[in-house]
């Protein structure tokens, strides 16, 4: 066998079309549309630039040391993680539960329920934010009115005004809008779980809760991995809801990294600094994704 053949060169020569359009083009597109912006952002993060004139000043790691000393970045970072924790729990649990309930046909009109739950995913977060501003409004918001009429008035909080809970309010709203996503993934995934395994558990006397958690969920690890990844990206790039609902208020306690990027780049004209925060988001997302890949995905696609 010739060397060129061993290297697959013959194959490439015979399949030039596939090689060009199947491999080269996607690679170029990826580099152009994904790689370049990322590299440019990282490049910018080493400069001081107001975004308006042409003068970029190279300042080395200054932006990064500034970031280290910026209490807003720290607040934002903590908030991104709070956001992540909330969205890892609430929409994922809710999405999975709804998917299970739909698959097990425990509710009437499953197709309708599915559509309704998925609908917010298709809504712009701007609209979602405006809607929840009304619902959570302290004067006549539907939530407080509902709590009041259920005799749960003691649960009423300043959903946006109280700096201890405002970020969780935002994260919950985000979770509300996001629930359809894990639901649709799990719904599809549950369709692929062999029905017999669920039946077998039922025969042994397992109830829905146990079947959902002990039999179906462990078989859905690939789906869970994807859902967790999506949730990580979703919460790391959180921005819209903050911009619409609080603008970081009260006193910066609801800011997130994405919002800091926006503030610094566009309001404070510190484009280089904004790029440095973007880079932080990038590194965090990539790091967390790698963690998920190595832990959750391990063996997820075996047999």
């Amino acid at each position: 066998m010739q060397i060129s053949n061993m290297l697959g060169l013959d194959w490439l020569r015979q399949n030039a079309f596939v090689a060009v359009f199947g491999m080269a083009v996607p690679t170029i597109i990826f580099l152009l549309f994904v790689g370049y912006p990322i590299l440019y952002t990282v490049y910018l993060s080493f400069f001081s630039w107001n975004g308006a004139d042409g003068a970029k000043t190279f300042i080395g790691l200054q932006n990064y040391t500034d970031m280290w000393n910026d209490s807003y970045v720290w607040t934002a970072l903590k908030n991104n993680f709070r956001w992540l924790v909330v969205t890892l729990i609430f929409p994922v649990v809710a999405g999975y539960s709804i998917a299970y309930v739909l698959r097990a046909r425990l509710v009437p009109f499953p197709a309708l329920v599915r559509t309704v739950i998925f609908f917010p995913v298709t809504m712009s977060l701007i609209a979602v934010g405006l809607m929840f501003l009304l619902i959570l409004n302290p004067m006549f918001g539907a939530l407080n009115v509902a709590l009041e009429s259920l005799g749960l008035g003691f649960l009423i909080r300043e959903w946006f005004g109280d700096h201890r809970i405002a970020i969780y309010t935002l994260a919950f709203v985000s979770g509300w809008a996001f629930t359809g996503m894990p639901m649709i993934f799990y719904f599809a995934g549950l369709g692929d779980v062999p029905k017999e395994t669920l039946d077998a558990a039922r025969l042994e006397g397992a109830g829905h809760f146990r079947i959902a958690t002990r039999i179906a969920l462990p078989q859905l690890r690939p789906v869970t991995a994807v859902v967790v990844m999506l949730t990580i990206f979703e919460s790391m790039r959180a921005f819209d809801l903050v911009a619409v609902m609080t603008k970081g208020a009260p006193f910066g306690s609801t800011t997130v990294l994405g919002y800091q990027v926006y503030l610094e780049s566009f309001w404070n004209s510190r484009v280089g600094y904004g790029a440095a925060i973007s880079t932080l988001i990038l590194v965090l997302s990539a790091g967390l994704a790698a963690l998920v890949l190595s832990r959750l995905m391990k063996g997820a696609f075996d047999g």
């Binding site: 062999p194 395994t197 039946d199 077998a200 039922r202 025969l203 042994e204 146990r210 047999g303």
Partner: protein
């Protein structure tokens, strides 16, 4: 230990009737095989007995108790699925112990039962493995172990052997037979394979389109099929059928290709059924007085080693003939075949019901 009674069971799926009206009584300790072509409603019947699905109407009694609407766990049954339905994320031991743990049995007792059953089924060497690390036969035995561990009153098996290769299947058949002999648990066994049904069942229930065609011991079903469908379904190669007209002179077709002795008093359109072994390839031309001899063209010759199967045709008639291993026959030859009318079955061509010749 329990008997199973199905009374006027009807099952429809959104307007599509799968079981119109099913009645079946299974004795305590009996091994019954539900057999029939794919889609005839065997699995549905089993699902109804298991409680994984509910009847549209009718009653199900297990051990004298009405369990029509009882949840599966309260029916004293266990089930083996075609796909085994092992929990892929649990070890063999966890799979077997899943039910007992759920029912809150004491740990020590669970461990002991699991060990005993695993030993009996010779899977005690793999208790720590995940199902994906087992062979098909081992998985099948794990599935058996998991359903045995609860000592059910009724054992339900839905095509438990069809995912095994031929050799393992033979082994598993005798394992199941032994198990039934030793434990005596009432068993409802579903298969679409008639030879499996023949070898395993104390009684065979042949189903077609949601109806029971015949429920009898294997040899009765084989020798006295109640309908043309049963006759054709049971036995391999399948029985040969000839649509003929019965007159006082005998049985024959319009073109004189077939002339047979008359059977009983039936008149008009009838179907004669003859198993392949009851049609004999004649070596030499028969004498003028010979009866029930039909001339047919050999189409295909299948030499199986221990015997030879001949596909023969004559006009609209087609038959398979079982001949000796060394039978002299070549495709294209026109040969004479003798029909053993003592072994022939007679059915009404119109409704397929058996006509007793006596």
């Amino acid at each position: 230990m329990a008997d199973v009674i199905l009374e006027n069971i009807e099952k429809t799926y959104g307007g599509h009737t799968v079981l119109p009206n099913l009645n079946l009584t299974i004795e305590d300790g009996e091994f019954v095989v539900l057999v029939g072509p794919s889609g005839c409603g065997k699995s549905t019947t089993l699902q109804l007995v298991a409680g994984l699905d509910t009847v549209t109407s009718g009653r199900i009694l297990i051990g004298g108790r009405d369990v029509t609407y009882a949840p599966p766990k309260d029916r004293d049954i266990s089930m083996v699925f075609q796909s085994y339905a092992l929990f892929p994320h649990m070890t063999v031991e966890q799979n077997i112990a899943f039910g007992p743990k759920l029912r809150g049995e004491p740990k020590g007792k669970i461990a002991q039962t699991v060990r005993e059953i695993a030993a009996m089924l010779q899977i005690d060497g793999y208790l720590d493995r995940l199902p994906k690390a087992l062979s098909g036969g081992q998985r099948q035995r794990v599935a058996l172990a998991r359903s045995l561990v609860r000592h059910p009153g009724v054992f339900l098996m839905d095509e438990p052997l069809s995912n095994l290769d031929a050799k393992l299947r033979i082994e598993a058949r005798s394992l199941l037979a032994r198990m039934h002999r030793d434990l005596g648990i009432t068993t409802i066994y579903v298969t679409h394979d008639q030879s499996e049904a023949m070898t395993m069942g104390a009684r065979i229930v042949v189903m077609k389109d949601g109806r029971i065609e015949q429920a009898d011991p294997p040899l009765t079903v084989y020798n006295h099929p109640k309908t043309r469908f049963v006759a054709g379904f049971i036995g391999s190669p399948a029985m040969n059928f000839f649509d003929l007209v019965a007159t006082p002179d005998g049985l024959g077709d319009d073109h004189g290709r077939v002339r047979l002795d008359r059977m009983g008093t039936a008149r008009g359109k009838v179907t004669v059924g003859l198993r392949p072994e009851h049609i004999r390839l004649l070596d030499k031309l028969p004498g003028a007085e010979s009866r029930n001899v039909v001339s047919m063209t050999v189409d295909v010759v299948q030499r199986l080693g221990n015997e030879t199967l001949l596909d023969v045709v004559s006009g609209p008639f087609r038959a398979i003939v079982r001949a000796d291993a060394l039978a002299q026959a070549e495709p294209g030859q026109v040969r004479q075949f003798e029909f053993d009318m003592n072994a022939a079955h007679l059915f009404s061509t119109d409704d397929g019901q058996r006509i007793e010749a006596a």
